[in-house]
């Protein structure tokens, strides 16, 4: 059965989903840091 590609597809998809979510968290942190600086509280 040539099913090994499904195994790798599942593992890659899992990490892509997590990487995407972590990417959104990093972007949101960056945006908040910018807002914080604009408020004059950045150091």
């Amino acid at each position: 059965m040539n099913a090994i590609k499904f195994l790798f597809a599942a593992y890659i998809a899992t990490w892509l989903i997590h990487a995407f979510y972590i990417g959104t968290l990093v972007r949101r942190f960056g945006r908040l840091r910018q807002q914080w600086k604009e408020l004059g509280k950045g150091k």
């Binding site: 499904f6 997590h18 972590i22 908040l32």
Partner: protein, 241 residues
């Protein structure tokens, strides 16, 4: 605390790498499915982690409804969001596993599959409510939605015990047997995913704290601005009288 996060991150990365090694190398090949069964080491731990996070969301929502604690509200929000991510993994890896084993991507009408999809939709709607509603009642409405949404969890979990489904029977406690090396690998992968989920939740919680501080600072700034403009307009209005 600042030091603990990188240490935990390194530990979790090493643990996940070890769990992957166990899943791909140490665990024996399944006699029926071959190597494709190894999807179980990502699919099942992700499902358990998602259910655990939704359960924490349920408890935190009840605590919020009783005590109106902002911390409980933040915990509920964080667990729902990270739970949706893990549930997405389940809904993506499931069909990828089903295709070579069942010959179909999705079994329409299957209660385990459908109830899991409904659970995902409930928590996505919870997040949409949190994201796009800004009224004073939003947190309470979201908590109420979470409490009712959690009613789907027992259906998801017990559906394969009480109904005949395309989905296999439970690997633990369902009367089936599993090679001890497979079971250990499954539990190690779950532990690694729990550490990963904890780290993500921790980051998301910090993000939420900072976000609320920024919102408060913005509100304070606009209050001060409004106060100053009111002060500036006072002498003018008096002098005109």
């Amino acid at each position: 605390m600042k030091r603990l996060f990188p240490i935990l991150s390194i530990f979790t990365a090493a643990f996940l790498a070890y769990a992957l090694y166990r899943a791909l190398v140490v665990a024996p090949t399944d006699a029926l499915q071959g190597d494709v069964y190894r999807i179980i080491y990502y699919h099942v731990p992700s499902a358990w982690t998602a259910l655990l996070l939704f359960l924490i969301n349920f408890v935190a929502s009840i605590v919020y409804l009783i005590r109106r604690s902002p911390k409980a509200d933040m915990v509920a929000l964080v667990c729902a969001e990270v739970g949706v991510v893990f549930c997405t993994v389940v809904l993506v890896t499931g069909p990828i596993w089903a295709r070579p084993v069942w010959g179909i991507w999705w079994a329409p009408g299957d209660i385990r599959l459908t109830s899991t999809l409904v659970l995902w939709l409930i928590y996505v709607s919870y997040l949409v409510l949190r994201r796009f509603s800004s009224g004073a009642q939003t947190q309470m409405l979201a908590a109420a939605l979470a409490v009712f949404g959690a009613l789907d969890m027992p259906l998801v979990y017990f559906s394969i015990w009480f109904f005949r489904t395309q989905h296999p029977q439970p690997v633990i406690g369902g009367g089936g047997s599993m090679d001890p090396r497979m079971l250990h690998t499954l539990l190690i992968n779950w532990a690694a995913f729990l550490c990963f989920a904890f780290l993500i939740c921790w980051s998301r919680y910090r993000l939420e704290v900072v976000q609320r501080e920024v919102e408060q600072a913005h509100a304070l700034e606009s209050l001060v601005g409004a106060g100053e403009s009111a002060k500036a307009s006072m002498p003018l209005s008096r002098s005109s009288q």
